[in-house]
Symmetry: none
Subunit: 143 residues, 4 copies
């Protein structure tokens, strides 16, 4: 494992949320969900009051057990990132604004560090890594 790592990608039921599960990476599904929702909230892509997909809908789309989705939503509710309103759904909470930028910055640094380490392990220097990044990014960002 860690080899084949099939990447499944689905559009969420909500307007803006998109989930990508990396099975076989060893990272539990519920943590991937938490991370992606946290990131969406931190980046401002999901704003306070935005509605998340229902557990049932997400469960069907991602082919994941409903309990797993539920566990992620619960955890995020405990952390104050989501709010559940029985009967109407699950929403992004009003966020303490100061948290945002530091947190986002920290997460970016972590990701950058992980990526550089991996490139280093593979013997790829920064210039080559940047080149690979730009090549891979062009088709998606079209800028």
């Amino acid at each position: 494992m860690g080899e084949g790592s099939p990447l499944f990608q689905f559009e969420g039921a909500g307007a803006r949320m998109k989930f990508t599960l990396d099975t076989g990476s060893g990272v539990p599904v519920y943590r991937q969900l938490i991370q992606q929702i946290e990131n969406a909230a931190a980046s401002g892509r999901m704003k306070a009051g935005d509605k998340l997909p229902t557990i049932r809908a997400l469960s069907v789309e991602l082919k994941v057990n409903p309990n797993t989705i539920s566990k992620a939503y619960n955890e995020l509710e405990i952390r104050g990132i989501l709010t559940t309103q029985v009967g109407s759904g699950t929403f992004i909470s009003a966020q303490r604004p100061e948290v945002h930028d530091d947190w986002k910055e920290k997460k970016i640094q972590e990701a950058v560090f992980r990526f550089l380490r991996e490139m280093d392990e593979l013997g790829v220097d920064t210039d080559a890594a940047v080149l690979a990044l730009r090549n891979a990014a062009v088709p998606n960002t079209s800028q």
Copy 2:
């Protein structure tokens, strides 16, 4: 990821192998070891015949149970990447040469894809990501 991710870093006992464990990422320790050894073999940093740290030595350095190291070495042996000689140690196998470059390229693509996805989730565009990369990389590459 995103929990608190303390990053511990140690120098391996061998001449060339360096291990970095990211506890709290949810990725099992033995998988992190597998990935790093695979990468070292793919990059050519570790060559056929090179000796890996002994299980016990690594276990002490990384503060991890010997069985965990053993599990990683074992899986790599089953995959044909390592060879063990009881009583003398564990070594990089003679690799099928064709595998080398394709494998490395594949691993680079996977890492790039993961990184871009993560940046995208955080609302960071490619230019900003490249900037962050260059900034973080300066201390290592500026020479």
Copy 3:
């Protein structure tokens, strides 16, 4: 072998899998399990999708630690012979069909060679070996 070799025999929990452990032969338990599951898959007795006994059930039946069963299942998964779905069990993988017959033939040849060598060491010629085989086999084949 030849130490005292108590032979314990148990019926597996699944419909088709039967395990026989030869303690005291010096062959590690987990390897015996691997061999028997491989043979069952090679012979077609276990087919793609068939469920194996749960780790805990086998562990109780064979009076062996669950980790030992797990180790066998795990190695077979790495080799692509088994597939595990956490929460539901362990199954025979969809096999590459080409492998089937060659593999079975190879395993038969190996077993025949080992047996002949052993008989030769004991000074038993082929005719006597065949006779012993037929005598021992009667209770099973005479119908």
Copy 4:
């Protein structure tokens, strides 16, 4: 392992003793040696007073550590099968004759049973097994 099982075969230094090591079977080398010498003694191929290869000679031929050979010889001496005469070598002991036949018979039965079980696991019936035996045996026994 248990897959590739390379079978190395060597002629022993003595007149009659022939050793075959099956590395990768999981059976310790010293036990394979013990078994083969026991079998040779039981079958009458080696008789009381016959000389065994020196530890050093065997060690070179089988590419095995001298301590491993030594361990096998020691064990056999403890069991009364070998006798060491310092300065002149290691020899087959005078055997208690009654032991021979029962023991040989028991070992044959064990080997037959193991073989039949393995054939059964592979879905090979007795007739097919006998056929495979005869085919494999013809070139060697020429009878």
